[in-house]
Structures are given as structure tokens and as C-alpha cells.
């Protein structure tokens, strides 16, 4: 039985990152062609090249690189140079000199090919432009049809014209108070008050101008129409009022107002 010498793992790793000398690379490649075991070992090197490659710090692309690339693919570049890169490095291609006579028929053929390619590219662009025009035309036709429909509806003789407005809003609650401090007399007439629960009551307050706490000035319930009144509640005399307010309190009233204040107002004239 013939002994087979396999490639050491170290060398396979070097092969994987192409760090062997060219002749060694060739030897390994030759061995790999016939050795399934070494191919298997190589296949287990999970992308060492990729790992190292991806350690590179990311740089922004040069200005216009994206546009240049898009231009190339929109022109359907099929170049034999960098695009394939199989035969030789594109960047290293060097012109070679040959006898003119040899190149005449080839030049003619190349010229014909170039013309054909040019016509092909032109045809491609024309085709693309035609497709875009078709799409644009279809869009414009659709928009035009819709505009005509709108106009037909607006100008139809038998169309019904209806004016829609907002529903009448519920009138806001308000009250008018007449107050005579020297007599301790107060009359309040309130309208449009919202109904309240049975265990609640409206309460009127005098807010003194001297900064003292609000003074309760009577409890009341609105009728079904939202009207209510407070007539001559039992309040102290000679209290200058800065304002009046109405709150909603629990049945029986409160010694201090509970926010929010439903309605409020300040005296404008009088004593």
C-alpha cells in the first residue's frame, strides 16, 4: 500500500490566506485536486481570509464612485477587462506592438464589432427610454381621466348641492350675579348648566379681595333646562369680592371649593 503525504494544517492555513510561495501554492493545489481528505480539511477553515479582511476599518467611498458604478451597469458594461478579470489584471494591461499588416483584418473586424456593440447599446437605451415613456404616458392618461370625472360631477345639471355646517353647539353655561357687599346681599341667575349626578350639587363661592379663603355662598341644582338661581344666601356683610365662582361639590356642600371651577367672573362695577 502506498503512503500518501498530506498537506500539514499549517500549510493549508497559509494556502487559505495565499501566504505560500507561488510554487508551493501550485503544489498544494495539485495535491488538493487528488486528495479528498485535504480538501475536507481546507473546507473546515471557515473563512479565515474573510475574517481578516473584515477587520479593515470602513472608509467612505470616493466622491462619485457610486454614480460611476451605476453608469457602468446602466450601460450594460460587458467589458473584457476589469469586468471579468479572469485572464489578466485589468490594471496591468499593457499595449503590445505588432506588425500593422497583421492587424488590418483584425482591426476591421474589431471596428465592425465596435459598431455592432454601439448599435446594441443604443438600441438598449432606446428601448429603456421607450419603456419609461410608456409608463409616463399611462400615468398621465390615468390622471387625465380622473380629472375629467371630477369636472363632470362638479358641472352636472342634475347634481344635488348640499350645504353642510357644524351642528349647533350646546350653549356654554353662564351666570349673572348681583352683589351688594354692604348688605351682604347676593343674587345669582345661572343658565345652560349641565345636569349633575344626584349626589352632587353646584356651589357658589365669593373669592374675597383681601386674599382670605373663598366664602361659600349657596348650593343649587339646575332644572331640566339648565337654569338655576341663588337668591340672598346667608353670607357675611362688607366682604369685598375679587371674583365669584361656581364649583361642583358633594351633596351638602364643601367648606373649600373643589376644582375645577365651572364658571367664574369678576365684578365690573358697583360698590
Amino acid at each position: 500500500m502506498k503512503d500518501v503525504v498530506h498537506i500539514p494544517q499549517e500549510d493549508l492555513a497559509l494556502y487559505a490566506i495565499q501566504a505560500l510561495a507561488p510554487e508551493e501554492m501550485a503544489d498544494v493545489r495539485q495535491h488538493l485536486d487528488v486528495c479528498e481528505m485535504c480538501r475536507g480539511t481546507l473546507a473546515q477553515l471557515p473563512g479565515d481570509l474573510a475574517l481578516v479582511a473584515m477587520s479593515t476599518e470602513q472608509l467612505p467611498l470616493p466622491h462619485g464612485a457610486r454614480e460611476r458604478f451605476l453608469e457602468r451597469i446602466s450601460g450594460e458594461v460587458t467589458g473584457s477587462e476589469s469586468a471579468t478579470g479572469v485572464d489578466r489584471p485589468a490594471i496591468l494591461q499593457m499595449p503590445q506592438r505588432h506588425r500593422l499588416s497583421i492587424w488590418i483584418p483584425w482591426s476591421a473586424a474589431a471596428a465592425l464589432l465596435a459598431i455592432s456593440a454601439g448599435l446594441g447599446i443604443q438600441l438598449h437605451f432606446t428601448d429603456q427610454a421607450l419603456q419609461q415613456q410608456t409608463i409616463l404616458s399611462e400615468n398621465e392618461a390615468a390622471e387625465s381621466a380622473r380629472a375629467r370625472q371630477v369636472l363632470d360631477v362638479l358641472t352636472a345639471r342634475n347634481a344635488q348641492h348640499v350645504l353642510l355646517t357644524a351642528s349647533p353647539a350646546r350653549a356654554l353655561p353662564s351666570a349673572r350675579a348681583v352683589y351688594l357687599p354692604s348688605r351682604g346681599a347676593l343674587i345669582l341667575e345661572a343658565v345652560n348648566l349641565a345636569p349633575i349626578a344626584g349626589d352632587k350639587t353646584y356651589e357658589l363661592w365669593i373669592i374675597p379681595a383681601n386674599g382670605k379663603p373663598p366664602i361659600p355662598a349657596g348650593l343649587f341644582h339646575p332644572d331640566a333646562a339648565g337654569n338655576a338661581s341663588v337668591v340672598l344666601p346667608d353670607i357675611p356683610k362688607n366682604v369685598e369680592a375679587k371674583a365669584f365662582g361656581v364649583t361642583i361639590e358633594n351633596t351638602g356642600g364643601s367648606s373649600t371649593p373643589t376644582l375645577p371651577i365651572v364658571i367664574s367672573g369678576a365684578p365690573t362695577a358697583g360698590e
Binding site: Q9, E10, D11, A13, L14, Y15, A16, I17, Q18, A19, L20, A21, P22, E24, M25, R29, L32, L42, A43, L45, P46, G47, D48, L49, A50, L51, V52, A53, M54, S55, T56, E57, Q58, L59, P60, L61, P62, A65, R66, F69, L70, R72, I73, S74, V77, T78, G79, S82, A83, T84, G85, V86, D87, R88, P89, A90, I91, L92, Q132, I135
Partner: protein, 183 residues
């Protein structure tokens, strides 16, 4: 209808490549947006020249455009495949040599789905961090081999260490990276 919005494209590379196979230029542009910077950066690191690096990048993406089937998804991520193509092509140019072995022979990176920006950036950052954890001599040897395209004997000469040591350093470094990524 020509699509312009990148959100209309599938997240996965495989699906995007199918569109590229159908000659969808917008899909190809999307692919370029995903990996253009990666490919350019690798080529630039090797060649240290912006124009040459862009040539490599353009060449690689044109190759994908013309032959998207060349990428076999079962053998690794598209990012890895492009990264290796960029490196190999750049090194070929650096060393003025013919294109090396087909990349398919050596790439089997299972790095997850790198189509998403976030995942890609996390993975790249992680690999950079891992490379930074290597002892200096190991990292230097790998970088000389990888980004300058030196052979192990050239590295031995340049670093003035025995050939066996260079081999061991490179192998140990690659093994570390491989195992760390798989964790």
C-alpha cells in the same frame, strides 16, 4: 416601474441577488450600497491608493452584476465572499500577478446575516476587536501576509524569524480568530 426606495428591497442578500440576476439595476445599486464601502476599504488597505482601490471595487461589483450566480450562498456570507475577492484582487495587483485561485475554494465563513447594517457593523467591530487582542508578532505576521500579500518566507525574511515561527504565528492567529468568532 423603477424602484428607488431602498426599503422596498428585501433584507436578505440571497433575495437581492435574485433580483440582480433578473437584471434589476436598483437591486444592484442596493447591493453596492451595502458592501461598496467594505470592498473599497479592503482594496484601499492593500493598495494604499484611492483610484486603484476604486478600480478594484468597480471590477468586483461589475463581476457580481455580470455573474451573480458565481456567489454560492451555501458556502458563506456574501460579505465574506466580496471581502475575500477584494483582498485577493488587490493583492494580485499589488504583486503584479495573475488572478489567484477562485475565492470559492477558501471561503466558508458562516458569519450570520450581514445584510443588515447594524449586524454587519457589530460583526466588523467584533472582528477588529479580536484582531486587536492578538499578540503583536502574530497580528503583524497576519497583516503582512494578508494586506501586503507577502509569502511566509518573505515574512520570515522581513521579520528576521525562522520560517517555522512565521507559520506557527499565522496559524495560531487564524485559529484564535476562527474560534473566537464561532463562540
Amino acid at each position: 416601474m423603477v424602484r428607488r426606495d431602498s426599503e422596498q428591497f428585501p433584507d436578505g442578500d440571497d433575495a437581492l441577488l435574485l433580483l440582480v440576476q433578473a437584471r434589476d439595476q436598483c437591486a444592484m445599486a442596493q447591493l453596492f450600497d451595502r458592501y461598496g464601502s467594505l470592498v473599497y476599504s479592503i482594496a484601499f488597505r492593500v493598495l494604499k491608493d484611492s483610484a486603484s482601490a476604486e478600480d478594484v471595487m468597480q471590477e468586483i461589483f461589475i463581476r457580481v452584476w455580470e455573474n451573480p450566480q458565481a456567489y454560492v450562498s451555501g458556502r458563506g456570507s456574501l460579505a465574506a465572499w466580496l471581502a475575500v475577492m477584494a483582498r485577493n484582487r488587490a493583492v494580485d495587483i499589488l504583486r503584479r500577478r495573475k488572478p489567484a485561485d477562485p475565492v470559492e475554494e477558501v471561503v466558508l465563513a458562516a458569519l450570520g446575516n450581514l445584510a443588515a447594517d447594524a449586524e454587519r457593523n457589530i460583526m466588523f467591530e467584533r472582528i477588529r476587536g479580536l484582531l486587536g487582542q492578538l499578540p503583536n508578532d502574530q497580528r503583524y505576521s497576519v497583516e503582512l501576509a494578508f494586506f501586503e500579500g507577502l509569502t511566509h518566507s518573505e515574512i520570515a525574511e522581513r521579520t528576521n524569524v525562522p520560517l517555522g515561527t512565521v507559520k506557527t504565528r499565522i496559524r495560531t492567529a487564524l485559529l484564535f480568530l476562527r474560534e473566537a468568532v464561532q463562540v
